[in-house]
């Protein structure tokens, strides 16, 4: 017999962090939800309630127009915080608690556990600082820049992965329960996804090596992905979808398979089903990613396989849901009285709903309607608020009395959390479904004359305001529930004993040699034929698999094989076959100034509201112009196709809206140009200067990645200055002279009115807005330039 004590201190830490970041992440979510409604509300307040702006409206304005709070920067903070901080810490809570019990072993290393805990919190804090500052890779859920990426790899795989796997190796229970398999799949797959979607060239380092000069902090943090355009899009959604699969699904299934039986005090309904559930999920999920790219410039074959596999996913997902719910067979009376089970039942039910809807959304014809709309947002939130959120709180309420060794502070409060959370969730999801479908239908509506019924994009935005209000209220309720939960846990924690009881556990160590079946022992290897027959026999009896279970390392190996093989099947042809991305002669690299403008577009997170991918669908080509070709994105690092159209598609903006002075006014105050716009104003573009000298480093980094930059390799800043003056001059002339541009803009740019045309051009050409406008004017113009489309 060996004696040991579980390390619950680390579990308590992760639990506390889960609550803290859950609150922060959802609060940021609430702010971005209000940013959808506030611009119009403030406009209305100023016009109808107050006579003009006042202190209150100025404060509200800050909430959506302050640089650090603008939607494009804050929305990634919301997604990253709820996924990696809230759900992440919850996963660690579940893993650290259940792995020790299932392995009958203390976590292998207290030190690694602590490094993991503090390292992860440090990563979260750096995300919370860098994202509002506009330091981002511009790829959804992979926004964090390269130094943080490195830290994630070290903390996730190095600290967490090692600690977990070594605990498995040193375990005292021979059999590995299915929850552990799900954790293994989570750890290895997230590692693979993270590494391969985050391969980059840091522009600052290129600069440092080339010139020996230390770059600015902004440049130091900037990187360009090694993939461009179609390939970048593909890698991103291979990552993005599997992040949903292996961060928000598999670890939560592990959680379900462990905590649900514990809370119900009966074993899982069918263990056999859980095995099938596991392997089918691991195999199928990997293929499903490209369903995020239907009708885009991604080759059809890739998105078609994704659709087939996505539909197949429905099977194992529902197998899992049924397995979860039937675990409660004969225990339904407990659900009525046990708040923990209530949370689990709603959680598992939402798992079923979300995984029914997911395959449906992957069907191309449905996707043609749903893609880019709020329908996706509704789908995601039924998964995250229902499945992830409720599983997490069910687990926390189950754990709290055990970890803090005292009664739960109040069951009534838990019930209140449950009901407020459920109502809030429905109030969030249902209106956003309606909003999404409304949006989709309006975009494709034609009138009797065969023209778009709503040619003005903004009409389709204002229509959604009531739904956005309902969503904001639903979100507020859900967060209120969470606050009640945090209060309950905090009060429970306050009642903890002065010293935690640490019961000593006893279990025999595993013997090194173990055979299932005595008949196998000592058998000699026979010649080929006999051996083959035996192998066949073993296979049929299923013994091969039980062996792997006992050997976590080999089991891990098989999960890697499953994931990598499926990934390679998709990735290899896309990367090696040139015909996937036919080149277009007239597509040239961005000029240095446009590149700088594009980098600002990425940094501001415009992709959170704008797509740059016109699908070959009639309603879309009518609205935006010629559909996007794969060859048009070859210099796009990162790709910016986007996934959502809160604003219109910008892929052909250069053709659609060539006027620089229009953009100037629009960036200064969108609502002064388009009355009901909800786009934030970008006054920073008028205050901040372009860092011309650093453009060279950006061009160099791109050139290193194979972009044919020609003379810009030596003279990027000069070229950019020259173009900036030309763009500024054109804007001023178009406006009819600098005096025709509003005073407020000159106040930002110069602090006063300029005195001459020359001064005006010089001053304006220094500002970021010029770089962004040059990029806007470039967008989508390649095909029609001389030497045009093929």
């Amino acid at each position: 017999m060996e004696e040991f004590v579980y390390n619950d201190a680390i579990v308590r830490k992760f639990l506390g962090a889960t609550l803290l970041w859950g609150f922060v992440g959802m609060l940021v979510g609430l702010i971005v939800a209000f940013q959808m409604v506030l611009p119009i509300a403030v406009q209305w307040l100023e016009a109808s309630v107050f006579s003009g702006p006042n202190g209150l409206t100025a404060a509200l304005r800050l909430l959506y127009e302050h640089e650090w709070l603008s939607f494009g920067r804050l929305r990634p903070l919301h997604t990253n915080a709820v996924i990696f901080a809230f759900a992440g810490n919850a996963i660690f809570t579940a893993v650290y608690y259940s792995t020790q019990r299932l392995c009958k072993a203390r976590m292998w290393s207290d030190l690694l556990g602590n490094l993991h805990f503090w390292g992860w919190q440090l990563i979260i804090v750096s995300a919370a600082i860098t994202l509002p500052l506009g330091i981002t890779q511009g790829k959804e859920y992979a926004e964090l820049e390269w130094p943080i990426d490195l830290a994630i790899a070290v903390v996730w795989a190095g600290f967490f992965g090692t600690n977990f796997l070594m605990t498995l190796v040193k375990r005292r229970e021979r059999h590995m329960y299915v929850a552990l398999w799900f954790y293994i799949a989570t750890i290895v797959t997230v590692t693979i996804l993270h590494i391969f979607n985050n391969l980059w060239v840091p522009a600052g380092l290129v600069h440092l090596f080339k010139t020996g000069e230390m770059p600015s902090a902004e440049l130091m943090m900037k990187s360009y992905p090694i993939y461009a355009g179609v390939q970048d899009a593909f890698m991103q959604w291979w990552y993005g979808h599997n992040a949903v699969a292996f961060f928000l699904t598999t670890p939560f299934l592990g959680m379900m398979y462990y905590f649900l039986p514990k809370a119900a005090d009966r074993p899982v309904f069918s263990y056999k089903l859980s095995i099938i559930h596991f392997w089918s999920l691991v195999f199928i999920y990997i293929w499903a990613g490209p369903h995020h790219l239907h009708y885009t410039a991604l080759p059809v074959w890739a998105s078609s396989i994704a659709m087939v596999f996505s539909i197949m996913l429905w099977m194992p997902s529902w197998g899992g849901m049924i397995n979860g719910l039937l675990t409660l067979r004969g225990a339904w009376h407990k659900v009525a009285s046990d708040p923990v089970l209530k949370f689990f039942v709603i959680g598992v039910t939402f798992y079923g709903m979300a995984t029914f809807e997911g395959p449906m959304l992957s069907i191309k014809t449905v996707n043609a309607l749903s893609h880019y709309t709020d329908w996706t947002i509704a789908h995601v939130h039924s998964g995250t608020l229902g499945w992830n959120g409720f599983m997490i709180f069910g687990m926390i309420y189950w754990l709290a009395p055990r970890l803090f060794q005292t009664e739960l502070f109040s069951k009534k409060l838990v019930a209140a959390h449950f009901w407020i959370g459920t109502v809030g969730m429905l109030l969030y999801i249902i209106p956003i479904y309606v909003a999404g479908i409304t949006q989709g239908l309006m975009w494709r509506a034609f009138d009797e004359t065969g023209r778009l019924a709503f040619p003005d994009f903004v009409e389709t935005v204002t229509k959604l305001m009531p739904f956005y209000w309902a969503r904001a209220i639903g979100g507020t309720l859900y967060l209120a529930g969470v606050v009640i939960g945090i209060y309950t846990i905090w009060r429970t924690w306050k009642n903890r004993p002065t010293k935690y009881d640490e019961p000593v556990q006893r279990a025999p160590a595993l013997r090194k040699e173990y055979r299932d079946d005595a008949g196998e022992r000592g058998e000699e290897r026979l010649q080929g034929v006999v051996w083959a027959g035996r192998a066949m026999d073993k296979f049929v009896q299923g013994k091969w698999h039980r062996r792997w279970e006992r050997l976590p390392i080999r089991f891990t190996g098989w999960v890697i094989v499953a994931v990598v093989v499926a990934s390679l099947f998709e990735i290899v042809p896309l990367f090696v076959i040139r015909s996937n991305v036919p080149s277009i002669a007239s597509v040239q690299p961005y000029t240095p100034l446009e590149l700088a403008g594009r980098d600002i577009y990425v940094a501001e997170g415009c992709y959170n509201c704008h797509s740059q991918m016109i699908r070959p669908i009639f309603a879309e080509t009518e609205r935006y112009g010629e559909y996007s070709k794969p060859g048009e994105s070859v210099y796009n690092r990162p790709f910016q196709w986007g996934s959502r159209r809160i604003g219109p598609d910008l892929a052909r903006e250069g053709l659609f809206r060539p006027s620089g002075s229009w953009h100037l006014n629009h960036f200064y105050d969108p609502r002064s140009v388009v009355g009901q716009s909800i786009m934030p104003a970008y006054s920073v573009f008028f205050r901040r200067d372009i860092r011309f000298e650093e453009i060279q480093a950006r061009v160099d980094a791109m050139a290193m990645l194979g972009v044919p930059y020609g003379e810009a390799i030596n003279s990027a800043p000069e070229m950019a200055r020259e173009q900036a003056r030309a763009v500024a001059a054109a804007i001023i002339d178009e406006a009819g002279g600098f005096a025709e541009i509003r005073v407020a803009i000159w106040d930002l740019v110069l602090g006063r009115m300029p005195t001459s045309r020359e001064e005006a051009i010089e001053a304006l050409s220094q500002k970021k807005v010029i770089a962004v406008i040059s990029y806007m004017q470039r967008l989508g113009t390649d095909l029609t330039r001389d030497g045009g489309a093929s």
Partner: protein
């Protein structure tokens, strides 16, 4: 790998092979899962239920249900 992919012109081969690979694995897993001996399944399924006890646990499936 590169050579192989370059010589395969018909890309639809990829989804086909993918599906076959998947189904083979799926059937293998299913067969294996269904053939797991009953007592072992019972032992495995009860693993989460026996962990919090202070008493030593030697063989879970012949003991009763767990302490809550």
């Amino acid at each position: 790998m590169t050579l192989l992919a370059l010589t395969v012109n018909d890309l639809s081969i990829y989804p086909k092979v993918g599906l076959v690979v998947f189904f083979v694995v799926f059937i293998a897993v299913t067969v294996r899962a269904l053939r797991t001996p009953r007592n072992q399944v019972r032992h495995l399924a009860s693993l989460p239920l026996d962990d919090d006890r202070k008493a030593p646990i030697i063989d879970a499936h012949d003991e009763g249900s767990a302490r809550a």
